[in-house]
Structure formats: structure tokens, C-alpha cells
Symmetry: C2
Subunit: 476 residues, 2 copies
């Protein structure tokens, strides 16, 4: 049964592909907390492996902090507390006994981590301190939940750093941007980096940098964030150090994270109406081998498929030779296309005779005969080509969504029809931002990070002087 087209009916396509490609199963008793199925889980593991290498290169260490956070910790930074309180899940009892104080399930770990940082940091020699945590997060979002896009329980990586000065923390913000860029590039994603407007920054941050990637339905998805925390947390958590000048000072901090949302982004932007298309580096199965059996001439084919599997595993690829007899080769083609396996290799009687295989790319669906002796080079070459192709396609998808609006009426028109990422002029007044949100179902993403843009007209809402060039989209 073919899928819908992700561009014409994203929602239906998305739900179906998650289930059929073994990414997520939502049939749990806990709305918004789903089962991350084997393929979804393995994509996340591949992302973790990539990130752990980057973290090691850049001096981050992994550790794990408690899930339960005392209420009093969350309260210490008031903006932080107010930002998270509506969606915090509270543990109040153990067995039949009420606890003397209640604990939050971590909606994020600044407070518990900085309680430890205060014990670990004493002098400038202890800085910078850079820890990362991979963990589950609970945010009991009361809005509509959507698997991977808006979950009540999800996985993430949260890195937390401490520095001697504001400027060093700002540099760390830049390093995080570089790390994420390398990840997003490897995932063949196309995205924009924004500084979020003040009214939408992280609760407790000086400023927030966010990475937004488009989805096929013209909405955008925040796939990561970086926060400069100033010493907003250092003060209430008393994270101090003895500086080289003999003075005791508060540290400056940053935090940054990516989550399983990233999987939603990869699946959605690369997929098509046959199912997923996974970037070869991150695909749980990179190559599937399918025997083409005709009753009279099938001799040696299954063995050849098995041999080829062994050979390619030896080369370090994740390979599956689908030798199951109860399925036709046509069924197998569809199944593995649905799963997004980058490369399919077919061996039939003629291939066996010619000592070749038929190779089918998942991205372009092109087929090609490849001599067995050239297969190693072919695969490494075609995987590079696929990554380039997927990235170009993602770039084109992002470019095709860019719009301009000079007035709220124009913005409304865009959001009513085909949606997109709308460039406009804004006076920076939060009332105008609110009006955008209330009247258009979209919101101000912020200003481009690292790109200087000058307003060329008045604020799209109030008509007063445009102070910044802002981008507006409908987001998850």
C-alpha cells in the first residue's frame, strides 16, 4: 500500500511511516510518551556516536545526573521556574507515603548540574568545565502531542559549560554552533540559525540561539538550541571561582542541546512517497541484499547473497541479506524502500553468471550494474553521492519556502495558503510579536545569527520603524 506524499499530506504520511518503518509506536497508555522502536533507536544511537566523537575532540565529558530535582532547586532561578512550572511532572509519594518535599522529573538539568558544579569548581584552573548528559526528559506538554515532534518524554543531549568570563562563554556558544553544524551537515539537513527574540528565549538565559529546519508542510522545527546563561544560574547556585587576580567571582555558563526531535527532521525532509530515505552514515541498515529467484535457475543465488553480506560486513557496513522465502522480491523492495535503506543490491541468475550485482539507490531510485570486483569502491562512492544529493535536495526545499511579507495582511495570506519562512521588518515590540502569533498561527523565530541584515521598511504589524529583519514561521 503506497504512502501519501509527504508534501501534500504530511501529517498522514508522517504517522504512517513512523509505524511502518519501525521508528515509533504510539499505542501506549501514556499519551505523548511512546515506544522508540528499533530503527528510531538506532538512528539516535548513530547520532550519539557522532556527537560523542565531537565532544571528545572538544573536551566535553559525559556524566549522568539524577532524574529527580527538588522543587526548591527549580525555584531558585525565578524566570526558569516560571518557564517550566506548567509542564513539570511531580513525584509526591513513595509507596503509600507522602514525601516531605516533592521532586520534579527533570524538564532540563541546569539546577541539579550547577549544584554539583558549585562543588567541583574552586579556582580558575577548574575552568572551563564542560559536561554533557544523554538522558530522558519529561515535559508534560498540555498541547497536542506529536511523536518525536512534541513528546512528553524524549531523549536529549544537554551540554553545560562554565567559564571565567562572559566572552569565553560567548565563544563556547560559537563552538556549540560549529559542533551542531557538523552534525546537521552529516545528517544532510538544511536549516537556519536564529537569535531568538527576548520574549522567546530560554527561561533563565541571556540569549538563545536556535536552529530551525523546515518540514515538508512548510512548518519549521527547532532542532537544537544554545543558551548563553550569563551568571543567572551561577548566583543562585553559588558557582564561584578564585580568579588569577585573587578575586572570587561567579562563573559564566552556557547550555546547549539536541533531542530526538532531530529524528523527525531527518525522516521528514528526506522522505518521499515510498517511505524513508536515510543518510547512509546514520541508516540502521545501510545495504540490503535481495536474491532474485526464478525457480529453474536459482542455484547458488542464496549462497552468493550470503557471501556478499559477509564480505560487506567485513568492510564495516551494516548489511542485511533478506533471504526469507515467504516474501517475494517485489515485497522486499517495497519494505526496504519504506525503511529508507540507502542501497539495495540484487543478485539474480544473470548477475551470478556475469559476476555482477544490480545496485539500486534509494534516493534517486536509479539502478546500475556493478561488477563484483568494483563493488567496494562503488558503495563508498555512491554513499558520498547520496549525501550530497540529499543535502542539495534539502537546501532546495528550504530555499523554496523563503517568502517576504511587508504587512500583517501579506503574512496572513502566506500562512493561510502554502506557509513558509517569511522575512519581514519588525519594530522589536513584544506586542507586535503577540499580534503575529494571535492572528496568523505563526511566530517570530528571531533574527539571523551571523548574518547582518538591515530593515528596508516599517514593522509589518504597527508600521513604526522596523528595527530588525525578523523571520516568521509556523513551528512545532
Amino acid at each position: 500500500m503506497p504512502l501519501d506524499n509527504p508534501r501534500s499530506n504530511f501529517s498522514k504520511w508522517y504517522d504512517e511511516v513512523l509505524l511502518r518503518a519501525s521508528i515509533v509506536d504510539v499505542r501506549t497508555p501514556t499519551k505523548g510518551a511512546n515506544v522508540l522502536m528499533p530503527n528510531g533507536y538506532e538512528i539516535w544511537e548513530a547520532i550519539k556516536n557522532f556527537m560523542n566523537k565531537k565532544f571528545k575532540e572538544t573536551g566535553h565529558k559525559n556524566a549522568y545526573f539524577p532524574l529527580l530535582i527538588p522543587e526548591e532547586f527549580l525555584q531558585r532561578e525565578s524566570a526558569h521556574f516560571e518557564g517550566f512550572i506548567p509542564e513539570v511532572a511531580w513525584v509526591t509519594h513513595v509507596g503509600n507515603t507522602k514525601l516531605p518535599q516533592k521532586f520534579a522529573l527533570r524538564p532540563t538539568s541546569e539546577t541539579i548540574m550547577y549544584h554539583m558544579y558549585a562543588q567541583w569548581i574552586h579556582s580558575h584552573a577548574d575552568l572551563p568545565l564542560k559536561y554533557n548528559q544523554w538522558c530522558n526528559i519529561i515535559r508534560w506538554d498540555t498541547k497536542e502531542t506529536r511523536p518525536l515532534l512534541r513528546d512528553r518524554e524524549f531523549f536529549w543531549s544537554e551540554a553545560h559549560t562554565a567559564h571565567s568570563t562572559y566572552e569565553e562563554a560567548a565563544k563556547q556558544v560559537e563552538q556549540s554552533m560549529e559542533i551542531y553544524q557538523s552534525l546537521f551537515d552529516a545528517l544532510c539537513l538544511s536549516y537556519l540559525t536564529f537569535q531568538r527574540p527576548d520574549h522567546d528565549k530560554f527561561a533563565g538565559a541571556e540569549y538563545t540561539i536556535a536552529y530551525d529546519a523546515p518540514l515538508p508542510n512548510g512548518k519549521v522545527l527547532q532542532i537544537g538550541t544554545t543558551h548563553h546563561l550569563g551568571n543567572n544560574f551561577a548566583k543562585p547556585f553559588d558557582v564561584k571561582f578564585l580568579d588569577t587576580d585573587g578575586e572570587t567571582k561567579f562563573v559564566f555558563q552556557t547550555s546547549y542541546g539536541i533531542s530526538t526531535r532531530l529524528i523527525a527532521s531527518i525522516l521528514s525532509i528526506h522522505g518521499d512517497d515510498q517511505g524513508l530515505i536515510l543518510p547512509p552514515k546514520f541508516a540502521p541498515t545501510q545495504i540490503v541484499i535481495v536474491p532474485i529467484i526464478f525457480k529453474k535457475k536459482s542455484e547458488g543465488i542464496l549462497e552468493a547473497c550470503q557471501e556478499l553480506e559477509d564480505e560487506l560486513v567485513e568492510l564495516g557496513y551494516r548489511v542485511f541479506a533478506d533471504l526469507r522465502e515467504q516474501y517475494t522480491s517485489g515485497w522486499k523492495f517495497s519494505e526496504w524502500e519504506m525503511h529508507g535503506v540507502p542501497l539495495r543490491l540484487e543478485i539474480g541468475p544473470r548477475d551470478l553468471k556475469n559476476n555482477s550485482v544490480l545496485a539500486a539507490r534509494r534516493d534517486t531510485l536509479e539502478k546500475e550494474n556493478v561488477a563484483r570486483g568494483e563493488l567496494g569502491d562503488f558503495i563508498s562512492d555512491v554513499f558520498d553521492k547520496m549525501a550530497i544529493y540529499l543535502k542539495k535536495r534539502a537546501d532546495a526545499a528550504l530555499a523554496s519556502l523563503m517568502r517576504n511579507a511587508r504587512t500583517l495582511a501579506e503574512l496572513k495570506e502566506i500562512m493561510r495558503n502554502n506557509r513558509g519562512i517569511v522575512k519581514s521588518n519588525w519594530c522589536e515590540d513584544v506586542e507586535c510579536a503577540k499580534k503575529v502569533k494571535d492572528e496568523t498561527s505563526s511566530s517570530i523565530l528571531g533574527t539571523r545569527q551571523g548574518v547582518i541584515e538591515t530593515p528596508d521598511g516599517p514593522c509589518l504589524v504597527c508600521g513604526n520603524e522596523g528595527k530588525v529583519v525578523a523571520y516568521i514561521a509556523s513551528s512545532y
Copy 2:
């Protein structure tokens, strides 16, 4: 500052080494829920990698299920519910709102997983089903907590399988035993496998197999368990399949797990009064390189250390060249011995001249000059030797703890003095088991799994006929 000896003052040694070797930091606001520090975290990651390979070879898939479990799910299997209720942490509120039903933080995942299994399993072709989950577990133990030994939050692996028959499930129990044996062997552990007595089996199981390893203080630690669940969960969770004979039947299930407790076992049994001794395969840092600098003759030494690091990283080892100038080489020796780094390589002026290094083994503390050209072979050889040495030492430690007791008085005497694992005859009456527990601070571990032993006398407690040979120890 030297450590205590783990054999003479285990408790003090343990607490100190956890902190100094960056394994666990207990200074959290949540008693029993600690910070797993970078070295502890990396050992766990190494265990995960080992297990994931085994799981793949044996057809297990990884997935992730929700942390929060509806109360009603736990209640469906009554023994299970009663077993876990005293230590369950309950989520009752979100934000300021009371939830219509409360959720347990998973103390184990049978119920939530089998709710999904009921949706995934329809026919015999869906069996066996074998999923594993790596996750955090919350058991709000009200007894004294001890880091890694008895935590309120810890990590584990829980594998859950479903089969057509009782016998197939029993075979799966055996496969789990083989998998764990390969892991425990790789970790150089020595342990005994028991079938737990009925009164101490897992809540909801037909029978429980447990793996107990000794600690230096003569207590034992349960480092893993396997449960045959019969169809005790299949019935309340309605996990059924259409069998080949056309009949619809309940599946038979098993579950088995290991946890971060395993880390406590490795650290304790291999460590000495210099700190940790880590099995080379699982050590976060396998080799440390220390330059020996004399002011006049230090030329080229730092460079040689750096080159050697690069060379060994290239060979696939986890290496750290400790080139820090603020520490003496003596300080570095102690530091890395504390961390349990298996091999230290020193380069001084004479080594540089002779194109050799001085290699110091962490286990035996032996030193040896090795020519640079032979270093690759030397390391792979010495790592094998260390694994053998550690395993032999662990075997000897276990053997030295084996005792016999014919009466409760003899048992009391052993438990009062040097403790140990005591072999005795037992009538299988739960009242006698209770008496052992109440009067000796030890308990019956069970009967040896896979070893046929015939009682040679009356029950050590009541003097009636001894029906089984039971083993007794004080455990965490």
C-alpha cells in the same frame, strides 16, 4: 594519600575510590540518586557496547519504552504489584494540576512492555520476540543506600522475550545465562549461579536464576538475574498467538537484566590499596603515557610522548599522554594508578636514547623495558595476560570465601567473624530461611544452577531432613 585496603576496610576504601577515580559523586540533594561521573559512565558504555554486540548476534533488538507506568498496569499481576509497591515513586501532579490517574516511575518494565507485545504478537510467526531496553530505573529503597550497590536511581539493561512454549522460554533462560557468562568472563569476574528459593524469586516469576559475585568484605552482590515468567504476565496482558495447530494460546516469557551494580563488582573485586584495577577491554583510559623530565635532559621527551600517543590511538587504543607541567611524574603515577589505568608507559632521557619505553602493569605493578618496535605486540600480549591474571585472582578470592556449616550456630560463627559463602543443607521450609535471615544477617541464596548436589545431612536450622544443598551469604 594512600587508600585503605579493600579487604580490611572495604567500606571506607569503596567510598574514597568512587570519588577519587571519578566514578560516582554522592553529594546530590537526592539520597541514593547520585552523579555517575565520567569514568563510571564510560565503563557502563563499554559494557553496553559489549552487550549490544551479543544482543545482535542472538537476535535481540533495542527499543525504548515509557518511563511512566499507569498504576493499573502494575496492579494487573498481583504478586508483581505487591513486590514493588513499597519502593515505587508516584507521579501524581503536573504543574498545579492533579492527574486523573497516578503513574509509577518504572521499577521494571514488564507491564508496559507486554502491553505493547500484545499488540505486536499475533501468530507463531511473530515468535520468538526478543527486545532489550537500556534505561534508568527508580526503586525508592527505604533501606540504607550505597552508591552503585543500592541506588534509588540506576541504569540497567532489561531484555524481555516471548515464546510459543514453556520449554522454549526455558531455553531462552539458558541463552541469557550464556550471554551473561561471556560478559562476566570478559570483565574477569568470578561468580556463582543460583536458582533463587521460591520465597525470594522475582515478583511474578516461575523461577529466578541469579548471578552472585563476592565483594572483598565477604558479602555477595547480585550482578544479574534471569526470570522465567511462565505466562503469568501473558494472561493479564493478553499476549496471545495463533499457533500452528490453529489454536490461540498465551505466550511464555522471560526477562533478564544487569545493572550499574556490575560496576561496583568490577571495581571492588579487582581493586587494591592503590585504587582501581580495570580490565583492559573496559577501561576508559587503557594506556597512560608519562614523560620523565630532568631539567637538563628533557629535550624531545614531550614530543616523543605525543607521538607515541598518536601511534597508539591509531592502533585503536584509548590513550592519554599526561604532559601537564604542574604535576610531578610521581603524582601522575599515583593518580593513574588510582584510576585503574591498566598500562603506564614512561619515557625518560634514557628511553628516548635507547628507543624504548618503560612499561608498568597496573595489576602486578611489574615494570619492563620494551623496545619501541615491539610495543604493539607487547601491549596486546600484556592486556591478554592482565585479563587472565585478574580472572585468576577473582577466582581465588571466591574460592577463599567458600565455607561449610552444619548448624545455625556454625553459620552464626562464620557470619560474626570473616563472613563468606556458606554451603549447608536446608529442608526448603521458608520458616527456616526466615530464621537464617533474622538471626545471622545473611540469607539463603538458593541452590547451584547446573550443578547437582546431594544433601549430606539434616537442615541446618530445624534438623529435619535436608532436601537441598543451599548457599548462604550476607548480600547487598
